[in-house]
């Protein structure tokens, strides 16, 4: 009994850096933010309990609806597009060709560029008059190329295009996944007369499906937290007709510009629930489509 208690104490002592950090820096602040979400709290005055008023206000807030809609559209387009491009790029980079390491580095390098620097560069690339993209489109004969960042119609498209620039990390994860696929599966498929396309559909994709699931879940979390790129590219404005005003940007404005910490906390909890629900949905849907080897 005594040695059991001693083991427990030793275990707790050794794991103290984690659980102390968890309690002080994560669980404690989360519990506090849950309480604050039921309060009116302008940061420098004491919180006043208002019950579910903040959550009720969210239901009727048109700016909140717009921010949710923008985030849903962004996630619905950026995640599938990013997944398709990343898988295709990984498959290409997995081929044994001369300069393979250089190609891989080229795909990965953009991910180490700071978001702010990348945002500023893309602002120039998408400038309607001087930008490289529109210069190219004009050279192709398009007289009125899009106002990428200043048009409500094109602003979201611009951001999704820019998000594809940061595919390096998922590509590297897919690449690792591709290298785990046993060669004999391809050999067997080839012996059975499967074409390259059929091998991709019936060997590569099923074997890669757990990695795709992982990246999609990470993609959902990242998409619901998109902030820095639109914040930089539209110079802290919510974009034309609020076209690029996302969930986290509105949360930030409520917390630090309008000093509505209670409202922002309520938004944060709703955001957490949405991400949890979407992740659960993805896991349920993926039961039939994700194949785990040896299971």
């Amino acid at each position: 009994m005594r040695s059991g208690r001693q083991s427990l104490l030793t275990g707790l002592l050794w794991t103290a850096p984690w659980w102390l950090g968890f309690l002080l820096l994560l669980a404690g602040p989360m519990a506090l933010s849950l309480y604050i979400s039921f309060c009116d709290y302008p940061l420098l005055q004491p919180p006043v309990f208002v019950g579910g008023a903040n959550y009720k206000q969210l239901v009727g807030d048109p700016v909140f609806h717009k921010a949710v809609a923008n985030t849903v559209v962004y996630a619905a387009l950026a995640i599938p597009l990013g997944t398709v491009f990343a898988v295709l790029l990984a498959v290409l980079l997995n081929r044994r060709v001369r300069g393979q390491a250089l190609f891989r580095a080229c795909v990965f390098v953009p991910t180490i560029v700071p978001l702010v620097a990348a945002g500023l560069v893309w602002m120039w690339l998408l400038n309607p008059e001087y930008g490289l993209l529109n210069t190219g489109l004009r050279a192709l004969g398009l007289d009125q190329p899009p106002l990428w960042l200043e048009s409500p119609r094109w602003a979201m498209v611009s951001l999704i295009l820019v998000s594809l620039w940061f595919l390096g990390s998922p590509v590297m994860i897919y690449l690792a996944g591709l290298q785990e696929i046993p060669e004999e599966l391809y050999e067997a498929a080839t012996l059975d007369g499967a074409s390259a396309t059929r091998r991709f559909w019936h060997v590569t994709l099923p074997c890669l499906s757990p990695v795709i699931l992982f990246n999609v879940v990470i993609g959902i979390i990242t998409a619901w937290q998109v902030f820095a790129l639109p914040f930089v590219m539209w110079r802290t404005r919510p974009g034309p007709d609020r076209a690029t005003y996302f969930y986290t940007m509105y949360l930030f404005d409520n917390a630090f510009n309008y000093l509505k910490m209670g409202y922002a906390s309520a938004m944060a909890w709703v955001q957490l629930l949405i991400i949890l629900a979407l992740t659960a949905l993805v896991f349920v849907v993926s039961r039939r489509t994700v194949h785990y080897r040896g299971v």
Binding site: E129, Y130, Y258
Partner: protein
């Protein structure tokens, strides 16, 4: 002692010993016998260097005599950092903020009222122009001291005026005349005579767009005699706002809204050669005295003039005035020491040295003769005179201004794009901001009512 304990001891002990030996030390440049006054500012680059020179001189003279050392820290988002530090009970002793933060922060109790300290330290507040002192006050109390002020005027390209047959010695006098000038100063390149949709603007007379150097999207009703705040109510849905939006839309309709939007999308940053005014593509712009600094760097041959921005009536010339301010946050540990530093910075010769370096006007009623003689902006006398106008106005003193600012931006952007009907958009914005103000006041009243039963909150306009 078993081997596991030794390893545990080493794992925990070695970093501690390492920290002791190699860890952070007190600032080597701070003399050991000095009390440190923490000063947070937003300025970096040339502006930061100018303030650092003044801080260094203070540390070598007045600071040395009193045993103080001002530690100047340039920070991004200094307003948010100061607020969070104040909420955490460890704010700096002095902070430099944009003036629009004075009403919300003062109302939340984040700023220390300075009336008593100003009296105690013999600050001659009457030496400042009334508009600057008014901006520093909220609810009858002094919460800030003037730092680097500015007024906004109309810059115009004299060469483009001549090319358009306009007299460069006679800039527009009214808003109607401004539109007329803007039409004449706009040049359209016709690509295909059969297809007017293919035309593009190559030179624009004037625009109020937030996308093109239009940083103050909310000011236009003021130039039509319509302030946005009467001290209690947000007053957007007025004839002045309707007239202002009609004025904006008239010009855009005349020039072709789609073409104007296309042109505005090309704007480069103010501090670049792609600044449309500096590159000669925008004939007139509503801007501050600092534009001369960028003109000197990127367009040294630009022939430009500066004039008061026209109002609807020349008898009531409205002027937008704003500035950076110096504050002592609530809970600052050394307010008196901070005030000694602020008193030094507010010496006329010191403050005007700073304003000159920043390309701004002087907050003093009567600037020293050297101020104009050595100022980098050749038109600074005009900007200074504008600050003395009885029709000068600053940011609305609303504690909820940040939200009103966002809503008025949305109003202007959607009306410029033709997404919303102006009358309906003004009504909706008015209703939205009214709700925000009402909610804020309801909670403030509730908080005051229950303040006795709540522990730990500073009173409104709390003292240190």
């Amino acid at each position: 002692m078993n081997i596991r304990s030794i390893i545990l001891g080493l794992v925990l002990g070695l970093p501690a010993v390492g920290l002791l030996i190699f860890g952070p030390r007190g600032r080597p440049d701070v003399p050991p016998d000095r009390t440190v006054i923490r000063y947070w500012e937003k300025w970096t680059g040339v502006e930061g260097a100018a303030m650092q020179r003044i801080v260094d001189r203070f540390n070598a003279t007045v600071g040395a005599a009193h045993g103080f050392w001002v530690d100047y820290q340039a920070l991004g988002d200094v307003d948010k950092r100061m607020l969070i530090a104040a909420a955490g009970g460890d704010p700096p002793d002095v902070a430099g903020l944009p003036d629009r933060f004075v009403p919300p922060y003062a109302d939340q109790g984040a700023l220390r009222p300075l009336d008593d300290l100003a009296d105690e330290f013999g600050l001659d507040l009457d030496a400042f122009k009334p508009i600057w002192l008014d901006i520093c006050r909220f609810d009858g109390k002094l919460y800030a001291l003037p730092s680097t002020p500015y007024t906004i005027a109309l810059y115009y390209n004299r060469k483009l005026f001549r090319d358009a047959g306009l007299d460069p010695a006679r800039p527009p006098q009214t808003t109607a005349e401004l539109n007329e000038y803007a039409r004449r100063l706009t040049r359209v390149e016709v690509n295909d005579p059969q297809d007017p949709g293919d035309d593009r603007i190559v030179q624009l007379g004037f625009t109020v767009s937030p996308a093109m150097l239009g940083w103050w999207h909310w000011v236009w009703p003021y130039f039509f005699d319509g302030p946005l705040w009467d001290g209690r109510h947000f007053t957007l849905d007025t004839p002045a706002t309707h007239a202002a939006l009609a004025w904006i839309r008239d010009l855009r309709s005349a020039l072709g809204n789609e073409r104007v939007l296309q042109f505005e999308g090309t704007a480069g940053a103010i501090e670049s050669a792609q600044n449309p005014f500096l590159s000669g593509r925008l004939a007139m712009v509503f801007q501050g005295p600092w534009l001369a600094n960028w003109a000197r760097v990127y367009a040294p041959d630009l022939d430009y003039g500066v004039a008061p921005f026209p109002s609807v009536s020349p008898e009531r010339p409205h002027v937008f005035a704003s500035m950076d301010v110096l504050v002592i946050p609530t809970g600052a540990r050394r307010p008196r020491e901070a005030m000694i530093f602020l008193t030094y910075v507010l010496r006329q010769e010191v403050m005007e040295e700073l304003c000159q370096a920043h390309g701004k006007v002087s907050p003093y009623r009567v600037p020293q003769p050297d101020f104009f003689a050595h100022h980098p902006n050749p038109h600074i006398r005009l900007f200074d005179e504008l600050a003395a106008s009885p029709h000068a106005f600053g940011y609305p003193k609303m504690p909820t201004w940040a939200e009103a600012w966002t809503e008025t931006l949305y109003l202007l952007e959607t009306v410029l794009r033709g997404v919303r009907d102006p009358d309906e958009a003004i009504r909706a914005t008015q209703a939205k901001v009214d709700r925000v103000v009402a909610d804020y006041e309801r909670m403030a009243a509730q908080r005051r009512q229950h303040s006795d039963s709540i522990i730990g909150g500073p009173p409104r306009g709390g003292s240190p």
